[in-house]
Amino acid sequence: MSLVLSQIINAVMLGCTYSLVAIGFSLFFGVMDVVVFCAGDVAIFGAFSIMALVGIVFLQPILDAVFPHYVTIFLLVSLSSVTTAFLMLLMYRIVIKPFEGKSPLMPLLSTIAAGIALSELIGIFYPQGRNPQAFPQLLPSDVMIPGIMLSERNLIIILATIVLVTMLYWFVNKTKLGLSIQAVSQNKEAAIMIGINRQLSITITFLIGGLILGIGGFLVASYSNIVRFDMGAMYGLKGFSAAVVGGLGSIYGAIVGGMLIAFIEVFVSAFIPGGTAYASIAAFLVVVIFILFRPEGIIGEKTVEKV
């Protein structure tokens, strides 16, 4: 019983990290109709930027001396996610905006290329960047309830995701800016016609998406304890798969999809003998089956193509 429970907690944590990336994909897809494939690499860049910040001598001790430990972590994560937010904006300017109104495959290819370029740059410029790096344990890992793996760290990962999603929900549904983003993603022309600043909505979406990705990167690095420069591609692909399985463009769909993929992966590797090697294969097979038989996702409306 405790094995099942701890596996469920494990899956929920993994699902949280996938959901955050999937939310990023869904936000960008909603507002621009493009799949931004460098999202995973941007998230991993966030994790590396935290490592770089921690690596600065005296920065963490000074902060720790002034503030309580949690505030220090909060400051570090905020700083790095602001970096990723602006990085995402930069990506938008370089590899997404020039392809507006052209074949949708061009931004797909350019963002894949940008993601590889970003991860390779990490590999080249971060000291020993090509080796797996141990991620500094910023979150306390005291086990709270023995036997079911519910440590403080795990709780923080889950709570942080819930808080983030709630804030995003509030922003998208209750603020004027959030509503304008929704309007742009529902109907571009009509939104412009009623006087919505489309460019501003897109910029804000990319900033917020980048912020979420940065936090997602921090959480996934804390979860797995190890970061690699080329982790982003796989992480991004899982996040995109989660977004598609849940329903591309829907924030709730992203969470459902992320959880589904994480549960499949964790349960295949935990309960099928020799399943660890096949966990990713099972997850991707589910994605293929979903795209073939329910391309609109779990949550999502069927769209009929108009001529």
Binding site: M106, I124, V244, A277, I281, F284, V288, I291, E305
Partner: protein
């Protein structure tokens, strides 16, 4: 203008163009990395200038009228390549360029149908693994196993092509990416496929009793064994090019492009979507499978890293650089990228960075590639000569 003078002028142009192309490739091959990049930029500049001044139509017409002459120049160039290349390594690069060109030609069928396939490396790998395993475990002749590899790759192509019937665009790309990753993971996890260690000691092709992996002696001159493979690979590339060009100009090729433009319109025109799409996948995969077999029997070792996702991306890069849906451009793109890639061998850390930067620059600056796709002319080449210019 007199017909005769126009005729001789066109002959001169077609010979000159093909000779320049060969010479530029040769300079890129023997020179340092700077030379290769300079050749690429020079070629692009020449193309842009030719397009701006409208000369490019003239060039194409001249080439179309005198294909035989330009073909002769290229054949002579390939034949004397072992003579004018100073070392075996450069020959090896040329052989690899030929192999990758065949793969890129295959991928071009799918791209021309509007399906960007991220699983080309899986087809390439299927050909290589099938051929290698059959040759090692059953002692079959590598010639025969290469054909089996092609068949296996084509079958996989049909399986991977089925999703294309139901989805397209992003969804199709995601499916091919997933399938590519599943392929890589399956190879790593399956011990009889060599797992992460790969398959060593793959037998070479042999003609009669002489193995192609032996140095040859022609007219009393010693040639390294790469020369054998150079001739083999480039004759197969010529065959592949012939098939690709014929298909491109046939109704099948036209149907593929119609599907790329608009699927619904294509259906209303009576194009059989299922048949066309599956054919594009099966044929493309067969090309990749052939190249895979050649690769395995040439290098005598295959490992899983030769067939992973980044390799698929490299193939897409080749097609984009050369020019989507232009078989000649695709081959040029594949050759150029292979040369540049091999030149970067000393800076291995920068290879993927370079690929991604090149891809972004092409997409931003010249999305139609080195040689853009052409509007088809459905008249015999002879009747065009008679047109007054």
């Amino acid at each position: 203008m007199h017909k005769t003078s126009l005729f001789s002028q066109n002959v001169a142009i077609s010979i000159l163009v093909s000779f320049t192309g060969c010479a530029l490739l040769y300079i890129a091959l023997i020179g340092p990395i700077i030379a290769a990049l300079a050749v690429l930029i020079l070629a692009l500049t020449l193309m842009v200038v030719a397009e701006r001044t409208g000369k490019v139509e003239h060039l194409y017409r001249a080439l179309a009228c005198h294909q035989g002459k330009s073909l002769t120049v290229i054949i002579v160039f390939v034949l004397i390549l072992p003579l004018i290349l100073s070392n075996n390594y450069l020959l090896h690069v040329a052989v690899m360029g030929g192999i990758y060109s065949i793969v890129a030609l295959g991928l071009n069928f799918q791209v021309g149908t509007g399906m960007v396939n991220f699983a080309t490396a899986a087809f390439f790998g299927t050909g290589a693994y099938t051929s290698a395993l059959l040759a090692i475990n059953f002692g079959l002749s590598p010639w025969l196993t290469t054909v089996f590899g092609m068949v296996a790759a084509a079958s996989l192509g049909i399986i991977f092509g089925f999703p294309a019937l139901k989805t397209r665009g992003y969804y199709l790309s995601l499916i091919t990416m997933s399938l590519q990753i599943i392929f890589t993971l399956m190879i790593i996890n399956t011990s009889w496929l060599g797992g992460p260690n790969g398959i060593p000691n793959i037998p070479a092709y042999s003609l009669g009793a002489t193995s192609l992996r032996m140095p040859i002696i022609i007219f009393g001159m010693d040639f390294p064994y790469q020369a054998n493979y150079l001739y083999l690979v480039y004759s197969l590339l010529g065959l592949a090019m012939f098939v690709a060009l014929r298909l491109h100009n046939s109704r099948t090729g036209l149907a593929w492009n119609a599907i790329e433009q608009d699927e619904i319109v294509a259906i209303t025109q009576g194009i059989n979507l299922t048949k066309s799409k599956l054919l594009a996948f099966a044929l493309g995969a067969a090309f990749a499978g052939l190249a895979g077999g050649l690769y395995g029997h040439y290098t005598s070792f295959i490992g899983v890293e030769d067939f992973d996702f980044s390799k698929s991306l490299v193939f897409i890069c080749m097609v984009l650089l050369g020019g989507m849906d232009n078989p000649l451009g695709v081959v040029l793109g594949a050759l150029m990228l292979t040369i540049i890639d091999e030149k970067l061998r000393d800076f291995a850390d920068y290879r993927m960075l370079m690929y991604s930067v090149i891809l972004i620059i092409i997409l931003l600056a010249r999305p139609q590639g080195l040689l853009p796709k052409r509007i088809r002319i459905y008249q015999a080449a002879k009747s065009i000569v008679n047109l007054k210019i």
